[in-house]
């Protein structure tokens, strides 16, 4: 029965595959072509220019600024989110389900609204004079920096916002994973005289490793794509302090209309993301049994 070929299958997959082919697969191929072409937007012509787009990019100091900023952002956001949400989930674990439900909702809520909204609100939070943050610091007797206006602080300010508003999903996944660890393991650890810190390192952490790795990859890939927050809060400034890779793609394409260069940059970004995704498949294939 099962082995019979069912030709209607193609009809059922056709609409979805057609859309994916036109909106994803074909643009990927087209992107590679664009990256080795020089496009003239006004005349609507394009011609082969070899690797000129790539060599032009590599010679552009702003490329290296954007690479560095993207890496710094990623290295701030990913460990930040993982550490805070894991600590929160571990601290929540011993408590009743209704507390856990409240925590889930409270942490997840800021993540459901658009990043544009969040970024607008946090721009006010970071306002040097009237912002919530500097007013609180002033009350504590500290003279806060101008945050988004200060090249030394602007990127950190966006990192802090991104950590705070993205805690929901990792927290829920960690909590689910920690709740899934059999109770007897904790009891055994308590009988052996281990404190909470030891219990965490010796029992919880090894058993939630798959969740940790999954989040590590998902968050890293996501952090490489930061755009909306930069667009709304700083437009890459001040003095290129928050100029990230996707923001540079946007500027090259839609401000300077240099589609060839923007495409070359996208190809580089795509290669970086593909490597990360491959790492995901490699790491996730390892299993934890208990």
């Amino acid at each position: 029965m099962k082995s019979r070929i069912d030709w209607t299958a193609y009809g059922f997959v056709a609409p979805a595959l057609l859309i994916l082919a036109l909106a994803h697969a074909y643009p990927i191929l087209k992107l590679c072509v664009l990256s080795v072409q020089e496009t003239d937007v006004l005349r609507g012509t394009a011609h082969w220019c070899g690797l000129a787009n790539f060599s032009g990019l590599l010679a552009d100091e702003h490329l290296w600024t954007s690479v560095r900023n993207t890496l710094v952002y990623s290295l701030g956001v990913v460990p930040g989110i993982l550490l805070v949400s894991l600590a929160l989930a571990f601290a929540c674990q011993p408590f009743a389900a209704r507390w856990q439900r409240f925590m889930r909702a409270a942490l997840y809520l800021p993540g459901v609204v658009s990043v544009v909204v969040t970024a607008m609100v946090w721009t006010r939070v970071y306002d040097p004079q009237f912002g919530l943050l500097n007013r609180t610091l002033a009350w504590l007797g500290v003279n806060g920096p101008t945050w988004l206006g200060d090249p030394r602080w602007a990127l950190s300010a966006i990192v802090i916002m991104s950590i705070f508003t993205a805690l929901g999903t990792p927290f829920i996944l960690f909590l689910t994973a920690i709740n899934g660890v059999p109770k007897e393991y904790y009891e055994a650890s308590e009988i052996d005289g281990a404190g909470p810190g030891r219990t965490f390192l010796a029992v919880t952490l090894p058993l939630i490793r798959p969740t940790l790795l999954y989040l590590l990859i998902i968050l890293t890939i996501g952090s490489f794509q930061v755009f909306s927050a930069v667009y709304v809060m700083t437009e890459g400034g001040p003095n290129y302090a928050t100029f990230t890779a996707v923001y540079m793609v946007y500027e090259e394409a839609f401000r300077y209309f240099d589609f060839g260069r923007a495409s070359a940059l996208s190809v580089i970004l795509m290669a970086a993301l593909a490597l990360l995704a491959l790492a995901q498949f490699r790491w996730l294939s390892s299993e934890v049994e208990y």
Binding site: D6, L17, L20, A105, V112, V116, T169, A277
Partner: protein, 268 residues
Amino acid sequence: MNRISPWQKIGLGLVLLLALLNLVPTVWMILLAATRVDAGRGALRLDGAAFHRLFTELPVWRWAINSLCVSVAVTAGNLLFCSMAGYAFAKKRAPGLQALFWLCLATMMVPAQVTVIPLFLMVAGLGLSNTYVALIAPTLATAFGVFMMRQFISTLPTSLFEAARLDGCNEWQTFTHIVLPLVRPAVAVLGVFVFTSSWNDFLWPLVICNRRDMWTLPVGLASLKNEFNVDVPLMMAGATFAALPMIALFFALQRHFVSGLTVGAVKG
């Protein structure tokens, strides 16, 4: 029930404090939008002036209707097309089908940020800038949705579909009468996920629509910072206007928001 140590109580206290702290910006946004300081009495007073300016000076309702039309159409398309493809990938046998499924998954590796330029040139080249087609069509089906529906339908017993066929259903009737009613739980989860991502999508509507009346809410809102930078209450009123539908949806459908998260996750 195990005992709770003082350390754990301190931990919970800190956790609750952080959770509340996390909600502060949202509350502050609403306060900035809907209140003003009464200098005479030093107290906060409700004030609808910012919302009044928002509704009279800006086409926010138009933006909201654009956002709603796009999100509803994208969600409906995903639910139908992803269920269809997921059903075929899970339960049907045909040459090359497995390869197509892997190709479909492979597109998940490449995010929309990367393909925005070729897609823009394609869509603009077809003369479709500033149209609903341009806003809706590229995301009518997503690889994630196909993957999710396939995983869910795989868990349903194949005998159900064979029974329907023996009872004389054709393939389409089997799909509408047997598959669709059975996938309802997964449809709710995928629907919430797709609707939220579509409502909050920013880069694509930003580049493909430059006419003000075709903007979606996030794009319209982001434009405020250029024109109305000094009018903080107005900007916060706009942010509140865009955020409230999502917050309401979250409270109404919390269960589905949360269960969607564990789809891609692994046991641990």
